[in-house]
Amino acid sequence: MYEEPYRWVEAVGNRRQYLDEQFKQGSPVVALTYEGGILLVTVSKGTPKLYEIYDRLALGGMGHPTDLEKLRFSLLEMAHVEGFNRSPSDVTGSRLVKYGIAPVIKQAFEEVYKAPFIVRILVAELGQKPEKDALLTINYDGTFEETTGCAVLAATPAAQTKMTAYLKEQTPATLSLEQALDLALRAWAIGSLAHQQEESDQRAETESSASGAGAAAAAIPNVDVLREHVRSIAGGRTLECAVLERQAPGTSKYRSLKPADLSRLLPKALQSVVAN
């Protein structure tokens, strides 16, 4: 029945709707460059969402854990085989994404008989020099974007825009790791609040499709509200933070921050998150 072009377009449209629905409960991911490298932050429940891919590559994901695992493995395989056959400096995020997993994700998305990957992926690459740091994001349909400075994954484009705008607006020329962590968590809170807001808006719309819902586009809450939100959500979950550190000894630059690191780095208002 999908042979007709119109049906196919319709099926792909349905797929988008279905996939968008899947990310609603997801936790945003924030990646931010700071003076010593790149920081990745998310709050996870049960399965980790930040991973080491190669010497200078890190992965952050949203979506179904099994799909994320599959893609993580293909990234790991490609990276290590390439690093062995050529050299570690030939393993670049952009090659892995553009010629590696993005086509696979796109194909799965468009083959309407088969299940798509329920994932959004962020690949952070630590360059040899700070100017070469790169951040790549891939959507569930295989579209990818390459940016510098900061990148986020969120449930909806609106939430993503809010987070990015906040990060861009707040970022001074150089951030220390403490500052970066604080800022990344605030951006995370903006994304997470935006998800909640959108959901309650939707509920309100279905309940009374008349008035009131338009006021949703609220102003950005202040720092205390954002921290309070992080505290309330992260309390029962795991605050996951990882860094790609330019000055780290040895070839592997990835390090996930341990509770001891976090309690040293987090602002006072968020110390309670670590104790959990």
Partner: protein, 257 residues
Amino acid sequence: MGMQGDFLQLLKEQGYTLGTPTAVGTGHALTNATTILAFKYRDGVLVAGDRRATAGNMVMYDRTDKVLEIDRYSVMAIAGVPATAYEMVRVLEHSFKYYRRTQLQELSFDGKLRAISKLLKDNVPAALAGTGAVVPVFAGYDLEQGSAKIYFYDILGAEFEGVEYAVSGSGSPTIRGILHYLNTWGDQPLNQLPEEQAMVQALRLLTSAAEFDSATGGVNREASLYPVIKLITGAGVQTIPDATLKPLYESQVVRYV
């Protein structure tokens, strides 16, 4: 499958083979002779190697590094055909990283030993053909047990634990006896030597090996060429810079007779 985190298997699926056996033609002298040693000292294990690479009676290179870091806690010192040995180290380095990143945990110390055995076993045909014999010494710090360990191998991949010390290479017969003597009747057993004394002993041992084995390069002070010495402790692998070795050599190794 990648689920096992086996990098060598992954390479093989892609058509990779280590060490293809080829008969040695006449007129080609292979680079192989050397001296490497490892012994336990007070804080961990010391691994040292001379820096000469020879082919027959020719010195190919005098700045070879035969003590290679595989990861932060393990080192492989190589004797034998360098081409194969370097390749093995590259495979191991990637294998350990791949395992850690896929399985989200470090490969155990025993797992690392097994990986080396497997590589040596794969390499047997090449070793017997004469083009790829490698006789490594593997030393590392087992974080789980909190102790330093030394293993040595034969070319077929059998692994032996060197409880106090291990040696390999053409210059090793000379120093094996010295190590035994030092450890048994020395002022103190090797595993109680403080760091500096351990380094001095390593320099003396390699100098002795160079005295009797032409394929082992000793210390060449004019070229400020010192052996490679690495210390592995709970804090990881540490390479001793020449600037530290120079005064030790001059004050405690040189004899002006």
